[in-house]
Amino acid sequence: MNEPAPKRGPRLSWLLLLLPFAAMLFVPFYNRVEPTFLGIPFFYWYQLLWIPLGVLVLLPAYLADRR
């Protein structure tokens, strides 16, 4: 990870890890019923959706780090 060449890649992908914090900690954004999905209020499906999205934002850092 300390070689000069791939330095930029990992840095950017690490910033992605901050996204879940922004999405989960700003509660007023998702504290509402509409739009519902399959009858499930936004509050619930939005947070459930962030479980797979949380995996997606990890992937670039995971792949960049693997070398």
């Binding site: 999405a23 989960m24 900690l25 504290n31 519902t36 009858g39 509050f43 619930y44 797979p52 995971y62």
Partner: protein, 507 residues
């Protein structure tokens, strides 16, 4: 008592007991070495680590308590979802480094890592004691999950053995069995049992989220039956951020605290490589999804109206809202499937209880016994002390739950999260920041614990404390606000003391 459900339940329980004892032979190692008994020889690959950590971090108590909170209090209980979303970026950022340091130097506990990094016995002792104190009530609470399903099956809690009435007999039996195979096989036992437990758990969750909504007429109807006031968090009022700031801080604070618990560290250090740790940050969220669905069972229990059904009246009277999910299962599933679902919960209590007691035993042996009592202890006596400690820890938990009101264990577990998070500066920041001074870390730890415990008591044993920032009231999880104080003291004092001696003195 339903004979079909009870038979299946007992058969599954007997099966995992055999597995637990047989685990000693699995990937055989010399169990007279602590890293073999207490870390499974650091030989668990990606998949075993996944099962082990899944069984470890998502405890039976969590699976009962989260829907119970949804059932009783509504939207607030859903904080478990953002909490588990935030765990994995943190795990990914910190644990590969922690694993690498521990692997290189042969460390077994977080306190070992701190001891090596800062060369301070007192700081390491503080980390070890905090870990043990925070974990003990957590082990006790695993018994609650087990107790609720045993009562739900209608098995009598008081049994007559040779003419003598033994109260809590099923719990005693389960715990003696658990203690015996943990002693015998170490971390290999919960690792192997976790595979069975997780298979049962996923089957149960899948069935529950398909079968029960179909019976209740779909998700829209389920959410419609929930009181409008508990469906969302109360919006902020002028001058008070209210439930929303409590929700966000609970999620963040719990995520930070979870990974500092000794059972998390033990589980992650038993992985065979950095790659296994990183891969698990990517695949463990599968359990978060299961937890999110299980949380919704609380609302399904509301929609099914289990609380007003006469057959569940005694269960709710004895266990309160904790009985919501067992009642829902009894109401919705055929008897044979109730046996499987309840076994998933009861076996789900055994896995974390075993790992937690092993983690406490590792801490006591490495950072108290070997450090202060018998510095020249051989590998064999080190391993022996750990085995005995794991027994003592479990006996303590059993005594706790049988002799004291359940509320004590619940309050102490809540306090445990506030205590364990105070080890974050030493354990996590210590990996990255060279300029921290051990005395500054110790001062921050002490201040964080004092402030956190004081807020917890002052709030009436509640985990959120209303902070007043000028004219704004911000309800905040006490673990997070006390951690901020801890960090501020640790950083400012470190700057004044000019950083620590950075030695890696002990291999």
């Amino acid at each position: 008592m339903n004979p079909v459900a009870v038979t299946i339940f007992i058969a599954l329980f007997a099966f995992v007991t055999l597995l637990g004892f047989g685990a000693a032979r699995w990937r055989r190692g010399d169990l007279d070495h602590l890293h073999e008994w207490g870390l499974g020889g650091r030989r668990f690959g990606t998949l075993v680590t996944w099962f082990l950590l899944g069984g470890d971090l998502y405890t039976a108590y969590t699976f009962v308590a989260v829907p119970a909170l949804m059932f009783g209090a509504g939207a607030v209980g859903f904080f478990a979802v953002p909490y588990t979303v935030l765990v994995y970026p943190i795990l990914f950022a910190v644990f590969p480094k922690l694993w690498a340091v521990a692997h290189e130097k042969g460390y077994v506990t977080a306190a070992d890592v701190v001891r090596g990094r800062f060369d301070s016995r007192m700081l390491a002792l503080a980390i070890a004691v905090t870990g043990i104190v925070a974990t003990m009530p957590y082990i006790a609470l695993q018994l609650v999950g087990m107790e609720v399903v045993i009562a739900g099956l209608g098995i009598p809690m008081t049994m007559t053995v040779a003419g003598v009435a033994v109260p809590d007999a099923p719990l005693l039996i389960a715990f003696v069995v658990l203690a015996a195979y943990t002693y015998n096989s170490g971390l290999r036992a919960p690792a192997l049992i976790a595979v069975v437990k997780d298979a049962l758990l996923y089957i149960t969750v899948l069935a529950a989220v398909i079968v029960i909504p179909a019976q209740l007429g779909g998700y829209a109807k389920i959410f419609a039956s929930v009181d409008a006031k508990s469906l969302l968090l109360a919006p902020a009022a002028p001058g008070n951020l209210g439930a929303q700031s409590a929700y966000a801080t609970l999620a963040l604070g719990s995520a930070l605290a979870l990974l500092l618990y000794p059972h998390s560290v033990t589980g992650l250090l038993s992985a065979s490589s950095v790659k296994a740790v990183k891969r698990n940050a990517v695949i463990l969220p599968a359990y978060s999804f299961a937890l999110g669905l299980i949380a919704l069972l609380g609302f399904m229990a509301v929609a099914a109206g289990v609380k007003s059904l006469p057959e569940f009246a005694s269960g709710f009277k004895q266990f309160g809202n904790t009985f919501a999910v067992p009642a829902l299962f009894l109401h919705s599933f055929p008897a044979w499937f109730v046996g499987i679902a309840f076994a998933a919960i009861a076996i789900g209590a055994l896995v974390p209880a075993a790992i937690m007691s092993i983690a406490c035993a590792n801490l006591f042996t490495r950072n108290i016994y070997k450090e202060f009592i018998a510095p020249n202890a051989s590998h064999k006596s080190e391993s022996q002390v750990a085995k005995i400690t794991s027994l003592v820890v479990k006996l303590g938990a059993l005594f706790f739950i049988i002799e004291l009101p359940m509320q004590y264990a619940i309050n102490l577990q809540l306090l445990g999260g506030i205590l364990i998070i105070q080890t974050l500066p030493a354990v996590f920041l210590g990996l990255y920041m060279r300029r921290l001074h051990p005395m500054a870390l110790l001062a921050g730890w002490a201040a964080g614990i004092a402030a956190g415990a004081w807020m917890f008591v002052d709030a009436g044993y509640k985990t959120t404390y209303a902070l007043k920032l000028f004219s704004l009231t911000v309800p905040c999880y006490e673990a997070l606000s006390s951690l901020v104080l801890n960090l501020a003291i640790a950083l400012v004092l470190s700057a004044m003391l000019g950083g620590g001696k950075r030695q890696e003195s002990r291999a």
